[in-house]
Every structure is written in C-alpha cells, then in structure tokens.
Symmetry: C2
Subunit: 210 residues, 2 copies
DNA sequence: ACCCTTGCACGTACGGTGTACGTGCGTCAA
DNA sequence: TTGACGCACGTACACCGTACGTGCAAGGGT
C-alpha cells in the first residue's frame, strides 16, 4: 500500500465519498480517518475542525459544477443553462446537497455562480437592484427545489407510497389532499424543476418588458 | 416550586424555548432535562427519542401559524395571505425555522397548510396536476426564502458587512459581485419575499389565463 | 384491607462524538 | 552535526443519545 501523503483535498474527497455512500450522518472525524487508514488527529494537521471540513465539501461540490456559458446566447437560455447546471449537484452528489446549500461560503467557489448569474442578468438589461432581486428569487427557488429533490423537505407525500397507497389520510378532514394523493405521492423532479424555471423566466421577462 | 407533571407538550415547549434562546445546536436531551429540572431519562417516558421530539417541535411551530383564510376573497389574495402566514414562522420562531423545513411531517399539522393551499388553487380553477405543480413551486420558493432569511443559506453577502465593507473580493475576478457589493450585503427580507410572491402570483395568473 | 399492576422519575452505564494536548519521528537548513 | 519544523499518532476529556434496571406512588380487583 503506497501510503500517499495526507492532504486537505484527499480528506475532503474521502468525506464526500463517505457522505454519498452512507449519508451525512455517517460523517465523523473518526470515520473519515478510518476510511483513509489514518489516525484521527492527523486530520487536524490539514483541517482546523469539522466545520471547516464540511465547508471544504461544499466548495468542492460547488466547484464541480459544469458551467458552459455562451455569452452570445439569449439571456433566457443562459439563465436556463445556469439553473440546470446548479441542479446537477443533486444528480452528481445527491446526499451532499444538504451540506452545500446549508453552508454560508465566502470563498471563490461560492462566489463564481453568483458572479455568472449577475453578469447574465445585467446583460439582459436589468439594473443592479433588479438583478440582485432576480438572483435571490432564483436562488430561493433552486435551493427549495433541491431540498425537496433530495428528500429533506417533503414532496409533499402524505402517504408514503410504500404503504397501502392512500386511505391513510382522512378524506373528511383533508378532502383535497386525499383526492390528489396519487399526484402528491409521485414527483418527477426534473419536470417539476423545468416547469419552475420556465415559469420564473417567463415572469422575469414580463417584468423586464414593462 | 410547584412541580407540574412532565408531559410531551411541556417538553416540546422547553425545546422550542431553548432553540430560540441558544440555537438548534444547543438542544440535547440532557440540556432540556436540566431546563425542566428533571432527570434525563424521564423525558423518554413521554417522547420515544430525540428525532420524535424535533418532529414535535416542527409540528408545534407549524400549528401555531395563524391562517385567516377568507373563502370569498380573490384567489390571489388568498395565496398571498397564506404565503405571508407561512413566513410568520421566521418571525415568531426564527431559530426553529430550520428544524421546521428540514423535517418530513406526516401529521395533521403538516397536512393542514397543504390542504388549504390546494383548496384555494383548485378554487382558482386549476386542475389537479396544475394545482400540485403550483403548490410545489410556492413551497420551494418559500422554503428557500425562509432559509435565506434565517441565515442558513447565504444572502449572498460575500463581504460580511462587519468587516471593512467591500474591498475583500477581487474586482478583477468578480466584477459584478464587487460592483454590486453594497446591494448584496444588505437584504430586506420582507421586501424580497413580497417581491417574490407577487412575481409568482403574476406568473401563475398568466399561466391560468392561457 | 390486601395485593398487584401500572406509570413515571431517576441513576448508571455504554458506545459514540469533537478536539485539546503531548510525544516522537522524518526531513530539511544552518 | 544540530536545530527547527512538519506531521502522524495516542491519550484524555467533556459531552452526546439512549438501553436498562430500580424504586416509589397511585389505583383497581378481590
């Protein structure tokens, strides 16, 4: 076993790997050390504490986003592409998503998506305040969508379809929910996300036109 | 000291109180027991485990929402009112917000807002699938907004205004971010939320009209 | 009046957690 | 050669969730 030297990137990579395999709850300094075949405290030579390590995880995942921005394209296409790129996180690192969105980053990795989004919005003709507003709107939507997608926030699926389908929620108390139960239990995240993005782009376009 | 008997509601209330005073990280079974002047294991006579206790916290906060729904009002007003009511969580229980939105509830408390929202959307003329789509859109937006508001997700404030204002982010690398830094550092959550709600309602109205 | 069940508060104990601290070894600079 | 330094490591501490056993008080059946 060629004992490659310990390093921050290697530790972060091990953490991401562990999160994706066993979930964020499985992450502990001891566990990561074991995964790397290393003593627990050796980690602290490269990472100040667990919190910083998780920040590293968020940055790493975030910087893995493939932004293929075409500055000549229409701004609606560029916004669409950026939103989709962000959603890739949920595909490539589903169980790390919660870590990414629930962490306040002041590093380059966290700023790059913001910079790109602001650039395309300004390019679309929005002034500063409007661009920031639109960006915040999109971020809220995307964060909320990703959380739903990775199962943190409810789908809302009152009846988890594993059970006897519906019949678990009282139709008298919740007529709409029970009537729409089949629709609520299933969720095509891709379609849902696309629908939301289109709705937002459309709304923004209207807002820009006036 | 009149030693009122221990009970689930009293434990949940103590937990909420503790969260609001010292943050969600301060919550431990030992701490709550101490707060109630009670042995740790006594809690387990009323609550199966910590997870269930936090579910209780979420339900309690959620059921504290004041929904004043007027069935005769225009659906846009009803949607607005419901969105605002939900946002009250962030005002009344700011530090519990994360607990509320990050927990999957299958109880009455969690279903009631869904039922109400679906009812008003159906009343507005949307068919089942559309109503569910709109609801999910709103939930994503609201969850994302609340997370930003309570400081979980970034504002995005690359320069935390406590430092030397701007000048911390390289204008060459991030021209837009540094140019808009003043706007990014401050965030009127109320205005931001209202803007988003209006944008969504408007978009949905357009969608409904076609 | 008796017993006996039941409910509930409590203490102890176990295996986990993050991390402060001291120790020893390898590799370079002087 | 010697000194400093970087880094892997073990130990130790305070804290966590909770399984388990114990004892006390109230209530119901006989």
């Amino acid at each position: 076993m060629t004992t490659e030297p310990l390093s921050r990137p290697r530790i972060v990579a091990a953490a991401i790997d562990l999160i994706e395999r066993e979930g964020a709850d499985a992450v502990s300094m001891r566990r990561i050390a074991a995964e790397l075949g290393v003593g627990v405290m050796s980690l602290y030579n490269h990472v100040p504490n667990k919190d910083a390590l998780l920040n590293g995880v968020a940055e790493s995942v975030l910087s893995g986003i493939e932004f293929t921005d075409d500055p000549d394209a229409h701004w609606t296409d560029r916004v669409r592409a950026q939103a989709r790129a962000f959603r890739q996180i949920a595909h490539h690192h589903p169980r790390s998503t919660m870590v990414v969105v629930s962490r306040q980053l002041h590093s380059h990795a966290g700023l790059l998506p913001v910079e790109r989004a602001l650039a395309t919005l300004r390019g679309a003709g929005f002034d500063g305040p409007d661009a920031v507003r639109m960006l915040r709107m999109f971020i809220a939507f995307i964060v909320g969508s990703l959380l739903r997608e990775v199962g943190v926030t409810p789908t809302f699926a009152p009846v988890h379809s594993r059970t006897v389908e519906a019949a678990e929620v009282d139709p008298a108390l919740f007529p709409e929910v029970s009537a729409l139960a089949p629709l609520l239990t299933e969720c095509d995240h891709e379609a849902e996300f696309e629908f939301g993005v289109e709705l937002l782009i459309q709304a923004i376009a209207v807002h820009a036109g006036q």
